[in-house]
């Protein structure tokens, strides 16, 4: 990578697994290209990809006219990562954004790719003082296999001319017939949503609690309090976050009459799963919204900015 970067206008092809194109889609009709120009947005986009890469091997990318979504699924086997998805308002990040689905009546382009490859291809956007990035283009194209070509235009301090760093990330195009299993999750109804401003403390706390107890109770109240309880044979640890901002549950979703009846709601979740989520976060945000659906799930929401939102669901466990 570093050697290649030195070559001006060099092109790096990263293809760990050559995925052959699948049956009933035509790349000729399907088009996607997007371009980022703002340094801050490029860094954020890189941070999002890095977060996804920490959570799972593969991620789903859903490209629509107005929005771009990434989903990483819960992995049931060895690791304990939760379901996480990110929705990005395309206009915010990409001044140039064009997508044409395979067929005019379709709304989306659905791709599956390695989260690690995507993250690595964007790593150059993170670079601080050493070089500056002018722009970053994403481009769906067909070489021997379908791929997203990530083209970053970089200027080194000792050269006035930009060079292009190109990564081709292999993707699998999901045909419309299979979309049902790749659709965006819905934010569950929660009885209470609290904004916790100390994400850094929360992260280190949950990381330690996973060594104490396998399950962790989130207990929230409409008085703006959140208690985290970890219990084991050897110790009971109760942490209270007080004076939190109470975000009213969305009226539209909860429907008429489903007004918060109980002032206190609790739910216990897998501590390792919660810790996996918090440890994966690579974003600088300090506030996270924690929604609690009584004994069903914890719903986490990180507003990266107003139109760029990261969600996660931690399912309840029985204690």
């Amino acid at each position: 990578m570093t050697i290649c970067e030195k070559l001006r206008n060099s092109s790096v092809t990263e293809c760990a697994a050559i995925k052959l194109c699948q049956s009933n889609w035509s790349l000729a009709a399907m088009k996607f290209r997007a371009k980022m120009l703002d340094v801050l947005y490029m860094r954020e986009f890189q941070a999002i990809a890095a977060t996804l890469a920490k959570l799972a091997k593969d991620c789903v990318m859903i490209v629509a006219q107005e929005r771009m979504h990434f989903i990483v699924n819960e992995e049931h086997c060895s690791t304990s990562s939760p379901l996480v998805w990110v929705s990005i308002a395309s206009k915010d990040y990409f001044p140039e954004y064009q997508m044409t689905p395979a067929r005019p009546e379709q709304e989306f382009i659905v791709l599956v790719m390695s989260a690690m490859h995507l993250s690595r291809s964007l790593a150059v956007l993170r670079s601080g003082s050493s070089s500056s990035v002018h722009s970053c283009k994403l481009n769906l194209k067909q070489i021997q296999f379908p791929c997203i070509s990530v083209i970053a235009s970089v200027v080194s301090p000792n050269s006035s001319e930009p060079r292009e760093v190109v990564h081709d990330v292999p993707v699998t195009v999901i045909p419309a017939s299979d979309w049902a299993s790749f659709m965006l999750p819905k934010v569950p109804n929660t009885q209470i949503v609290l904004g916790v401003p100390s994400l850094r403390l929360l992260r280190s706390l949950i990381d330690k609690l996973k060594n104490i107890s396998p399950s962790l109770i989130f207990h929230g109240s409409t008085a703006g309090e959140l208690n985290l309880v970890a219990e084991s044979e050897m110790a009971t640890i109760t942490t209270r976050f007080s004076r939190l901002l109470l975000h009213k549950p969305d009226q539209g979703q909860s429907g008429a009459g489903a007004e918060t009846s109980e002032p206190e709601i609790s739910c216990s979740v897998d501590t390792r799963k919660a810790s996996a989520f918090f440890n994966a976060l690579q974003l600088p945000n300090e506030e996270i919204m924690i929604g609690i659906d009584s004994e069903r799930c914890i719903c986490l929401q990180l507003d990266i900015r107003s139109n760029v939102v990261l969600h996660s669901i931690l399912p309840a466990v029985c204690v």
Partner: protein
């Protein structure tokens, strides 16, 4: 235990034993520290066994950890170190060291103040943590205590004619140990009034030997007080248990006498805070002149 009790009444916390026992009116032990950092690194430095014994008295708080009958570490915190220190009688109990260390590090690198509370036999040890940079967050930890196992008593005879004492700068001694042969089986400490003054020899499995000598005139040595030559060997694994303490210590005292019992004092000090001490006793290996 304000909020834990409330949560117990609501059925969120299930383990009643972890709440303070209502049969006790008052706390036997109440102490408060404004900064947790030194305490945490000191506890981490002696975390080599499952259980540790806490003993409190008018003279301060002692936390003792032992492994087998051959190594003992004691963290000593004087009452002056605490912002508040109240003790009633001389409470003592055992706790799991790694649970204690985990609880102290709940907030990671953020500095917290801590209040340590204990009511009496059968009651849990309570730690109340409050990070300085966020006053909306507070944690209550209650850690199960078990009956105390009296720690062994080791002592060097202060009047012994062979008592040798060296005070050294912590970082320098730490560097010396860092450079010693890591694969060595045994360490031999020689302290003598004549050259080489202070010598550490490592003895490896394959008869490999290496040694470091520190002259008493060295800048590393703060005080060198030696009357008779002492030579003793120790298990390297046991010496290595002092590593964490050595890494953070500002000063180290090494004491031994003809019996070979090694006493090391580590002065733990962070910034401008009061210091606390960690003391290790390590018993020597038997035959010195066997081979």
């Amino acid at each position: 235990m304000q909020h834990s009790k409330v949560l117990y009444e609501k059925g969120i916390i299930k383990n009643r034993k972890m709440l303070t026992q209502s049969q006790y009116e008052n706390y036997n032990l109440v102490c408060r520290l404004e900064h947790i950092k030194t305490l945490y690194s000191s506890i981490k430095a002696i975390c080599f066994s499952d259980f540790g014994t806490l003993q409190a008295s008018e003279d301060g708080l002692l936390i003792t950890v032992e492994q087998g009958k051959s190594i003992q570490a004691t963290l000593f915190i004087a009452p002056a170190f605490f912002a508040e220190f109240k003790v009633d009688g001389s409470p003592s109990f055992s706790v799991k060291m790694n649970v204690l260390a985990e609880c102290l590090s709940l907030f990671g690198l953020s500095d917290c103040s801590i209040k340590i509370l204990y009511k009496g036999e059968g009651a849990p040890l309570l730690l109340l943590l409050e990070p300085h940079d966020d006053d909306q967050v507070s944690t209550e930890c209650s850690i199960k205590t078990t009956n105390v196992e009296e720690p062994m008593e080791y002592d060097l005879d202060a009047n012994s004619s062979s008592l040798n004492t060296i005070f050294m700068r912590g970082p320098d001694l730490s560097n010396i140990f860092h450079e010693l042969d890591k694969a060595a089986d045994e360490f031999e400490f020689t302290i003598s009034p004549l050259k080489p003054h202070f010598k550490i020899t490592t003895l490896g499995v394959m008869q490999a030997e290496s040694s470091v000598e520190v002259a008493k005139s060295s800048d590393m040595v703060i005080l060198f007080n030696c009357r008779a030559t002492t030579v003793a060997r120790y298990k390297s694994q046991q010496i290595k248990l002092t590593n964490k303490a050595m890494q953070v210590a500002s000063k180290v005292a090494i004491k031994t006498d003809a019996s070979g019992l090694l006493e090391m004092h580590f002065m733990m000090q962070c910034d401008d805070q009061e210091e606390m001490y960690v003391r290790f006793f390590i018993t020597p290996l038997l035959e010195v002149d066997g081979n």
